[in-house]
């Protein structure tokens, strides 16, 4: 019994790290641009399809697929911001919401036209291999995804903390006007930020491609999951996204063990409402929104 619980806990933590990466993308975009990317789930699904193509058709390891997804999705996000999103950055939230709903409909439509509505199983040998560590047996695909996601989160944290671009990004997040005054190229910072956010989503998608069948309709679930994760952790907070991801991952895993599958999907929302009652801005939320 104890080992069952440990296993569930471990797999929740592993998946939680990947959720953390998805949420990190959303939270970086929000923190810097004050824009909520409602098409985030579609970006995750783009990543899943990239993983599917790379692994199934070109037979490269999942890490390479993740790297491809990172590069492609970074440029995708950069161009999307520079062409469309930048026009709406200073508009009220509901206009942004409509634009992103438009984008998400557009993307899911493109996915439907390109790949059809049927799920494409991405399961490979990797999906079924396991590693045993005494008490716990870990599933290899999850372990790999979690380690990569964890490393990326750490790298990104270090990069944003110590690099000059990271400083520029944080300055733009703190005070946009001040950034402009000292000569920051704010449009470029925003475009790169959006690129980084999209890349986080894409990499996470590629990493979980051995676990989820590629399917356009997954996108809504991922978008909502990312919202919940980010609100639990605190919108705009780096460590909040990570903690939120872990909390949601573990909660989902435990719920799947204890309740029926439908309750498993409801639990993150219930958790969110409870957290909002006690800590309305999440664990690490900003004081002013």
């Amino acid at each position: 019994m104890l080992s069952l619980w440990l296993n569930v806990l471990a797999s929740g933590i592993l998946l939680g790290l990947v959720y953390g990466l998805v949420a990190l993308g959303l939270t970086i975009i929000f923190g810097v641009m004050r824009v909520v990317n409602f098409a985030h789930g579609e970006m995750v699904v783009f990543g899943v399809y990239i993983g599917y193509w790379a692994v199934r058709l070109c037979n490269v390891p999942i890490i390479v697929a993740a790297a491809i997804a990172a590069v492609l999705m970074f440029f995708f996000g950069y161009l999307l911001e520079a062409s469309i999103v930048k026009r709406f950055v200073n508009r009220p939230h509901h206009y942004q919401f409509i634009v992103f709903i438009g984008l998400s409909l557009l993307f899911s439509g493109v996915l439907l036209v390109a790949f059809g509505p049927d799920p494409r199983p991405t399961a490979s040998e990797l999906s079924f291999s396991t590693v045993s560590l005494g008490f716990v047996t870990l599933d290899l695909a999850r372990l790999q995804a979690a380690i990569t996601a964890g490393l990326l989160i750490a790298l990104l944290g270090v990069y944003l903390r110590f690099s000059s671009f990271g400083r520029a990004l944080r300055a733009a997040a703190d005070n946009r006007l001040g950034g402009l005054v000292v000569g920051l190229n704010i449009p470029r910072v925003y475009a790169v930020t959006f690129g980084i956010g999209a890349a986080c989503a894409g990499v996470a998608g590629a990493l979980i491609s051995p676990l989820f069948d590629a399917q356009p309709y997954l996108a809504v679930d991922f978008t909502l999951l990312a919202f919940v994760t980010v609100i639990v952790g605190g919108l705009g907070s780096f460590s909040g996204a990570l903690l939120g991801g872990l909390v949601i991952g573990v909660a989902e895993a435990i719920a799947a063990l204890m309740f029926t599958p439908s309750l498993k999907t409801a639990l993150p929302y219930a958790l969110l409402i409870i957290i909002l009652i006690f800590r309305p801005r999440g664990f690490f939320g900003a004081k002013e929104i």
Partner: protein, 333 residues
């Protein structure tokens, strides 16, 4: 006075449509009018109250389920179901607002809370056997006879119910926005600290506006369920419905009286047309693509919506030099 006259004219035209149009147009226009009403309820919350909801499907669904459960399971009149649904949705809206505004959590956080609550409710209803779970609830097929007390009848009957609801919604919003509450709510929307400094209890008023909007949405949802003849959690409480609700007012013109009508009149037939084309060409995602592009283009080029653009065009035709130039100058800035 001019606005009431214009409204009365639109109402007469829509009555004529209902009396003479063919069944397809009737069913399409019923949905358009229902979403006009739902859009109006959403408009009340954001356009006047200043609170963004992106989970309006929660209130719509609560209304639909109250009517559905009472009628299908117990044969109780939908009028009572509508009433009950409005009370339930109004209380849920008030509870959400209380939860959120208690600690001054507002703006985008409140919006995300509404969507989370809607998703939570959708999943709970999907697993709740008593309300039909995923299999949904089915109303018995209409006999064609009009039973006013049971709110049952054919397609034409529901068209007029929807028309009455839409007219009520438009007139009601107009009346509310000119009443004491309307002024208070708009003051609160525009500058909350200033409104509070003038003695407005903004906390209570925010709860009130959300609760009224939620109750109205539930009434619309109850009728929507009756019109569709069936209720499924994914369609009546899903994120898609929340989006459909707000597209009308945003496309038509936020905070305007006729915006939701014009917007629904544009967006819903367009969506139907595109899914029909997509189906006949066997391209499943085509309607998503065009709908998405249209949404982006509308917000991009007509940020205030279609209705204000029409009004401006009308003024420009009447007095070109006077009206048009300042607007152009404003646009350039």
């Amino acid at each position: 006075m001019k606005r009431w006259l214009a409204g009365a004219m639109v109402f007469v035209v829509l009555t004529l449509v209902g009396s003479f149009a063919d069944p397809y147009l009737i069913s399409l226009m019923t949905i358009v009018l229902l979403f006009t009403f739902l859009g109006q309820s959403w408009n009340l919350m954001l356009g006047i109250g200043g609170q963004l909801s992106i989970g309006h499907a929660l209130f719509v669904g609560l209304g639909a389920y109250s009517v559905g459960v009472l009628y299908v399971k117990y044969g109780i009149s939908p009028w009572i179901g509508l009433f009950l649904g409005m009370i339930i949705a109004g209380s849920v809206g008030a509870a959400l607002a209380w939860l959120s505004f208690r600690f001054e959590v507002r703006g985008i956080y409140f919006a995300l809370l509404t969507i989370a609550a809607a998703e939570f409710a959708r999943i709970m209803f999907s697993g709740w056997e008593f309300v039909g779970a995923m299999q949904g609830l089915f109303f018995p097929a209409p006999t064609g006879e009009i039973e006013f007390l049971m709110l049952r009848g054919g397609a034409r009957f529901y068209y007029f119910v929807a028309l009455a609801l839409a007219a009520l919604g438009i007139a009601g919003t107009e009346l509310i926005s000119r009443s004491y509450l309307g002024y208070v709510w708009r003051a609160m929307r525009d500058d909350e600290p200033a409104a509070r400094a003038l003695g407005v209890r903004t906390f209570r008023h925010k709860i009130l506006v959300i609760s009224v909007s939620a109750a109205a949405a539930a009434a619309g949802g109850g009728v929507l369920g009756l019109v569709q003849g069936s209720i499924f959690p994914d369609s009546i409480m899903g994120m898609g419905l929340s989006v459909d609700v707000l597209i009308g007012p945003v496309v038509g013109g936020l905070g305007t009286t006729f915006g939701p009508l014009i917007g629904s009149l544009t967006a819903i037939p367009l969506n139907h047309l595109m899914s029909a084309i997509g189906d006949s060409l066997r391209i499943p995602g085509l309607n998503n693509i065009t709908y998405g592009i249209v949404l982006i283009l509308v917000v991009w080029f007509l940020p205030v919506g279609i209705w204000p653009a029409i009004v401006r065009l009308g003024e420009a035709i009447q007095a070109p030099s006077k009206v048009w130039l300042p607007h152009l100058r404003k646009a350039e800035e």
